[in-house]
């Protein structure tokens, strides 16, 4: 049951779209910066498999410029 955090950098001007998309996934919480175009994403998956599937889904997203894994815990 991994808990992970990422920094998500959207393509300029697409922050709102990216936030909406991320919020549509299960077990995801997003925290957009107040003053810059970067989003903290925390995932709380039920299993490693769910975690992988989620990352796969993000890979093809053209509104996301870059996503970096920052920390991970398994419980």
């Amino acid at each position: 049951m991994p808990v992970k955090s990422y920094l998500v950098f959207p393509i300029a001007g697409t922050v709102a779209q990216v936030i909406e998309k991320l919020q549509s996934f299960n077990h995801c919480e997003v925290l957009p910066a107040d003053n810059q175009e970067v989003i903290v994403l925390v995932t709380d998956s039920d299993s490693e498999k769910e975690d992988e599937q989620f990352l796969e889904a993000l890979k093809g997203d053209t509104t996301i410029q870059h996503i970096s894994l920052i920390s991970g815990f398994s419980t």
Binding site: M1, V3, E29, V38, V42, I70
Partner: protein, 777 residues
């Protein structure tokens, strides 16, 4: 004491892990993007269940205002306080993770007494009885100067105040020192000799006005990260310029507009060369120096304090402007360049920047100039540049000496927890002793008029056996003292008795006879004072763990047992407020008046002098400072109302590389770890980021020795040796012939190699320069 894994207690709460994961990401974002803020971190710990309370950060001297998220009696979240003028909602990686330092698995929760070589748990009452009895017995047998207390710039203001009252007003010994001697003493003597009063004239708001920032040996990007992001922000907004002067290439150098490397100890020649250029190009602010400055010279060839019982007193003598000008002839750019390694072109460039009448200049420095055998001198010399150009005490024109610890200013410098100091003034001054005696209600004869031992000499006295009993609080000298082996062996000698108050086992608790578990930070109430004369209050937010007791109350309990209870007539509930009321009687005039307890509780920090409800942002100028007379500058710290410009020469370091020991060794910190790592190494994210110390090598030197990153390297000095992994072309890059090692790792004690030489005026040791051999292990 065995110390195994550095882990945090499992709270079995996914919310807690989510909060940690979120704060790690926020920290990473903060490191990448200056001024980025995140408002809604509480969502990761349950939307509506957190209570947020304000506190200064527990770690560095920047003194960021934090909001601590509390839930079910635990501190579970941190965010930067947007109302704090220090950090305006920002936070660095240490600040974001700071609450995790409360919950390390091996937190000390019970008092321990060493019996027959084994640690035995006892009650707090038993432990305090033993400490008091042992202290009393030592005084009866060997005299009051056989007991000593060694505290910290991480002491709260009340901790330091009761320590001073207990040692100087109760027992009647000046055997009181604090670890700020190891980091800030040269800043203090620099201020005292140039201006007659301690602490900066300016404040962090100078950052918002300055056009040029000159960093003297100060890796701000790692050591003062939130302030550095304020510098970067100003560069974005106003195109201000950042100049990094250092002895190695760091993260600060990479972010700066220009990085200039100087030879170790070369700062002394460089500062004089800048003054030479300013004077010889006619860039001096004549009217300013005529009205507001005088010129002085002191003793030269002043030694390095390497021998026990070293004594030195400087003797200021008057000189003229022309004498000063002639003195600088030895530092004409071409001559100075040979001493400092900075090109003539860069010396001229720096002088022009400082002298440009259209540019406001802020100089910033910290350990580089302070941990220096001529630390007082280089502090004076930076002031000289600002005084010659009149760029001082007005917004954006600011020589700014930064502190390292959260309350080095508040507790050590303002409360005066050093051998020669009192909460106001010095023990040598009869008027100051009388004031202390009056406020403390003790006979003035009780307070000795002679200072005893400064820190290095105090540990030498412990080694020699003149001190038999030492109580160490909130600091880890068995990692941080230079020439460490001597002082560890001294502490371990047969008839020494060592008491250590701390929150985790450390190499210092290893040499203790009694360990007192301390209530940490927000487990008790207190105040810190940061670099910009800002006092910040924090309330008790959570219950202390186990039998942990605040350092303040530990001292009061021992004092009561020794018959000094009348000095501390307060209850556990009201003592912090009462201490603050009593302490501020020492600082009542417009030069240092402080805010009331109630105001401190209500606001995210208040700067002193605080007069008629107004903070003083710039001292020594009548426009901003109620204590200044006339209509412009008034350096009222000196009897003549003038600032002193000192002729200070270049003198070499006590130990320079030679054939046998051909490399310079410099030591310091990394952004992830706080000082000796005893707290930050218990925070998994920080520990994993930098799990152990390493030695930074120059790329070419490493190639010549066939050393790559990760290879084992042996360093040998005249005092010790150490094997540690190499770091080549990574975070920091020393020039050829130099190596750098961070000191946070108790498993790789670099201070076994450093030299216990010190500045003869400030008595602050040299941690930045000694000679070593380097070889592949």
């Amino acid at each position: 004491m065995e110390r195994k894994a550095y882990t945090v207690k499992d709270h079995s709460r996914r919310n807690f892990l989510k909060q940690l994961a979120a704060t790690s990401a926020i920290s990473a974002a903060t490191a990448m993007l200056p001024k980025v803020t995140f408002g809604g971190v509480e969502k990761f710990t349950g939307n509506d269940k957190l209570t947020w309370k304000k506190s200064p950060c527990r770690f560095c001297g920047v003194g960021c205002g934090l909001l601590i998220g509390l839930q079910n009696g635990k501190a579970v979240a941190v965010k930067g306080d947007p109302d704090s003028p220090v950090n305006k909602g920002l936070c660095c990686v240490k600040g974001y993770h700071s609450v995790m330092a409360l919950y390390g698995k091996d937190r000390l929760r019970k008092p321990l007494v060493k019996r027959n070589g084994k640690w035995v748990e006892v009650t707090m009452t038993e432990a305090l009885d033993l400490v008091a009895n042992k202290m009393k017995e030592t005084i009866d047998k060997h005299g009051k100067d056989a007991v000593a207390m060694y505290g910290s710039g991480q002491w709260t203001i009340p901790d330091g105040y009761v320590a001073s009252k207990f040692m100087k007003g109760g027992i009647g010994t000046n055997n009181l020192e604090a670890n700020a001697r190891l980091c800030m003493a040269s800043a203090v003597t620099g201020f005292m000799t140039s201006f007659g009063l301690d602490e900066p004239m300016g404040c962090y708001e100078d950052i918002d006005h300055a056009d040029v920032f000159v960093l003297w040996g100060n890796n701000m990007a790692e050591m003062h990260p939130v302030l550095f992001s304020r510098l970067l922000d100003q560069r974005l907004k106003r195109k201000s310029i950042i100049i990094d002067l250092g002895t190695r290439t760091t993260r600060t150098s990479l972010a700066a507009d220009k990085a200039i490397l100087f030879q170790p100890q070369g700062d002394l020649a460089l500062a004089n060369a800048i003054c030479y250029e300013i004077i010889n190009n006619g860039w001096v602010n004549r009217s300013f120096i005529e009205k507001h400055c005088v010129f002085k010279k002191g003793k030269t060839n002043i030694g390095y304090g390497l021998e026990d019982n070293f004594q030195f007193t400087d003797e200021p003598g008057d000189i003229s402007f022309n004498d000063f000008k002639n003195f600088l002839n030895d530092y004409a750019p071409a001559k100075a360049s040979a001493l400092c390694g900075v090109s003539v072109k860069d010396i001229k460039y720096l002088a022009q920047l400082y002298a440009d009448p259209n540019k406001k200049v802020m100089s910033l420095w910290c350990m580089g100039p302070n941990q220096h055998t001529r630390g007082t001198w280089i502090n004076n010399q930076i002031y000289n540049i600002h005084l010659l150009t009149g760029k001082i005490s007005t917004p954006g024109n600011s020589p700014f000496s930064l502190t390292g610890q959260p309350s080095a200013c508040g507790t050590v410098r303002e409360v005066g927890t050093l051998t020669h100091l009192l909460p106001h003034g010095t023990v040598t001054n009869e008027k100051d002793r009388k004031l202390a005696a009056e406020i403390w209600k003790v006979p003035v004869e009780k307070i000795p008029a002679k200072p005893t031992f400064h820190t290095v000499e105090m540990f030498r006295a412990l080694d020699r056996g003149e001190i038999k009993f030492m109580w160490i609080q909130v600091t880890n000298p068995m990692v941080s003292m230079p020439n460490l082996k001597r002082y560890r062996n001294g502490a371990l000698k047969e008839d020494r008795f060592i008491v250590v108050s701390d929150v985790y086992p450390t190499p210092t608790t290893d040499v203790a006879d009694v360990i007192l578990p301390s209530a940490m930070w927000i487990e008790r109430e207190g105040m810190f004072g940061n670099s910009e004369r800002r006092t910040q209050h924090f309330e008790k937010m959570i219950e202390p763990q186990g039998e942990c007791l605040s350092d303040t109350w530990q001292i009061i309990e021992v004092a009561k047992r020794m018959g000094y209870g009348n000095l501390f007539p307060w209850t556990k509930e009201n003592h912090i407020e009462e201490i603050w009321k009593e302490y501020t009687r020492f600082h009542h005039g417009p030069e240092h008046a402080m805010a009331s307890y109630q105001e401190l509780k209500a606001r995210p920090g208040i700067q002193w002098p605080y007069v008629n409800g107004k903070e003083t942002k710039w001292r020594y100028h009548a426009k901003y400072d109620p204590a200044a007379k006339g209509d412009s500058f008034d350096f009222y710290g000196k009897p003549d109302g003038k600032a002193w410009i000192w002729a200070r020469p270049f003198e070499p370091a006590p130990e320079v590389p030679d054939k046998e020991y051909p490399y310079w060794l410099c030591t310091g910190r990394v952004v992830e770890h706080w000082h000796t790592g005893s707290m930050t190494r218990r925070i998994p994210v920080l520990h994993q980021a930098v799990p152990h110390a390493y030695v930074e090598l120059n790329v070419q030197d490493a190639a010549n020795m066939n050393i790559r990153t990760g290879d084992k390297v042996k360093l040998v000095s005249r005092r010790g040796e150490l094997v540690l992994p190499a770091s080549v072309n990574e975070r920091g890059q020393p020039p050829r012939g130099q190596v750098f090692v961070p000191f946070f790792d108790e498993g790789l004690l670099i201070n076994e190699l450093t030299i216990d030489a010190f500045c003869p005026i400030s008595r602050e040791p040299e941690y930045k320069k000694c000679a070593v051999k380097v070889m592949k292990a």
